[in-house]
């Protein structure tokens, strides 16, 4: 079957995996679990508290001895998430397999940028490959991390065989030559823009149905968030306004009217004005830009994203829950890392600034 199947046929191919993912979702850390974590005084207590939860289990980090580091905790938690992803991927059939591969392309883009940036700074190749996100590995990764290559060289030798090949078209038109940090950000944003647009096209046109509807909403928010962040980060840099327009994905509530205004903006005030006028849904988040508020814009966006992902579980017989679960799991790992860092550095007053996963928007 090339589509996920409707109400009466979805379960035949994907019913078991939907049950599995919903089970993983039920075992995400709850409010009371987070309370227990925030009350720990040392990282060993944190590890014991995590071992008491059903999501992590008594085997979590069982062979790690003190002194523990926050990176160790993050690595083990990420390893758990990856084993869950691999279990689902191995048991899936098309088109769910293709959908799950689409999820990995985002990580691939981050890995490619990491390798090229590392090569520019003459880092050890093996070390860089270890730092890559395991969900985004592809063959011949080490060949990227060779210095003094232009984008075209990297494309022709390595990336042309990967699924990222069609997304490189936007980067190849730039003049060749060696790359620097700012250009790598432009490359990353161009790749991600092409990836979001392709993912949206795949979900709405090829998969359709409930999957298309829910994924479209999730990807729209992702695109809007990127547009606002690119605009805010591009002030006081060399990025020209014409180039800025090319980095905004062609989807989302802000496209096309508001992105035109954002492309011409010169300071955060104009961004706030444009968004509040044309995209009422995000206006309450803009307050953190204009006034002194407790939450940063990034945190508000994380909360909105978590609420959207939690809502996607209300629909059965769609693939969006797979995408949403892994985004929520990533957020949970970020939360655990935040709490661990606060415990380690004794910043107990900041410890409650993680993003709770039961927020309602």
């Amino acid at each position: 079957m090339s589509t996920p199947g409707s109400l009466a046929t979805f379960n035949i191919n994907d019913g078991y995996l939907e049950g599995i993912v919903r089970g993983y979702h039920l075992n995400l850390l709850s409010g009371s679990d987070y309370t227990n974590l925030t009350q720990c005084d040392v990282l060993e207590d944190l590890k014991l508290a995590l071992q008491n939860t059903t999501g992590y289990g008594a085997d979590f980090m069982s062979d790690e001895h003190p002194p523990l580091y926050t990176t160790t905790i993050q690595e083990h938690a990420t390893q758990l998430m990856i084993s869950q992803f691999e279990y689902i991927r191995r048991n899936s059939v098309q088109p769910l397999t293709k959908f799950l591969e689409f999820i990995t392309y985002g990580y691939m883009i981050d890995n490619v940028v990491l390798l090229i940036t590392g090569a520019m700074h003459d880092r050890n190749i093996a070390e860089l490959v270890n730092k890559c996100h395991p969900l985004g590995v592809f063959p011949a990764m080490e060949a990227i991390a060779v210095e003094n290559q232009s984008v075209e060289d990297i494309y022709n030798t390595v990336l042309i065989d990967t699924p990222l090949a069609p997304y490189m078209k936007g980067c190849l038109t730039d003049a060749g030559g060696s790359l620097d940090e700012k250009e790598m950000e432009v490359v990353r944003n161009t790749l991600y823009k092409a990836y979001l647009e392709d993912f949206d096209r795949y979900c709405t046109e090829e998969l359709g149905g409930i999957t298309g509807e829910v994924m479209h909403q999730l990807l729209e928010f992702e695109a809007d968030r990127r547009a606002i962040n690119i605009t805010l980060n591009s002030f006081n840099t060399d990025l020209q306004k014409e180039d800025r327009v090319n980095l905004y994905p062609k989807l989302g509530l802000l496209y096309p009217v508001c992105t035109e205004k954002l492309a011409k903006a010169d300071d955060p005030e104009e961004v706030v004005k444009a968004v509040m006028e044309l995209a009422k849904e995000y206006s309450k988040y803009m307050q953190s830009l204009s006034s002194e508020s407790d939450k940063t814009l990034e945190d508000s966006f994380f909360e909105h994203e978590v609420a959207l992902h939690q809502r996607s579980f209300e629909q059965q017989f769609g693939y969006a829950i797979f995408y949403s679960y892994f985004k929520l799991k990533e957020q949970e790992i970020r939360n655990i890392l935040w709490i661990a860092e606060c415990i380690l550095q004794d910043h107990k007053n900041e410890i409650n600034h993680y993003i709770p996963l039961d927020v309602v928007v």
């Binding site: 109400l7 009466a8 379960n11 019913g15 919903r22 059965q316």
Partner: protein
């Protein structure tokens, strides 16, 4: 039944239907009753069974209670067997076909079709409802009994089909020898 030598003027379409033996329709009806009902049960069990299996990995407590969704689907196959066996007992050999034999053939055919398709609809409904019930049960154990009421209503559809089908097939009687063809 050969009517080429009769005195009554039949149209071609009438001849077509008269020349087809009523046993064709009767046996086809019995076959449809059982096969469509079994297809319904299989479809329903596939829909609900996969979700129960998937959710049971993380919440093993739902296993026993959710078997009832599978039992509801299984009941549809039983309805099909009941219909098929009841109508098969009515199919007797006769030598000359009377009007009542043609009636019997058609009655059994349509009753089989009726039971088959109503069970098919019921099977899909119970399957989808059972799948959602398993997910709700895994999330919150108190929900299960309430969600079960929805499934009970869905499974009543198959019962309606069975009742009407049996009533319809009851009038069929091969060998009654009434209403000779002219």
């Amino acid at each position: 039944m050969d009517v080429t030598n009769s005195t009554f003027k039949y149209t071609d379409l009438e001849i077509f239907f008269i020349e087809i033996s009523p046993y064709t329709f009767a046996n086809l009806g019995a076959a449809l009753a059982i096969s469509l009902s079994v297809m319904a049960a299989a479809w329903g069990i596939a829909l609900t069974g996969t979700t129960i299996l998937g959710q049971a990995v993380s919440s093993p407590r739902i296993r026993t209670k959710n078997i009832i969704s599978v039992i509801f689907c299984e009941a549809l196959a039983i309805y099909g067997i009941i219909t098929a066996i009841i109508v098969q007992l009515k199919i007797k050999d006769t030598q000359v076909f009377y009007g009542s034999d043609y009636f019997a053939g058609f009655a059994i055919f349509w009753s089989g079709l009726l039971v088959g398709f109503s069970n098919l609809a019921c099977g899909i409904a119970v399957g989808v409802a059972g799948s959602s019930a398993a997910i709700a049960d895994a999330a919150n154990p108190e929900l299960f009994i309430k969600v079960l009421v929805i499934e009970i209503f869905a499974s009543a559809l198959g019962l309606f089909g069975l009742i009407v089908g049996i009533v319809q097939a009851n009038a069929a009687d091969f060998g009654l020898n009434k209403f000779p063809l002219m």
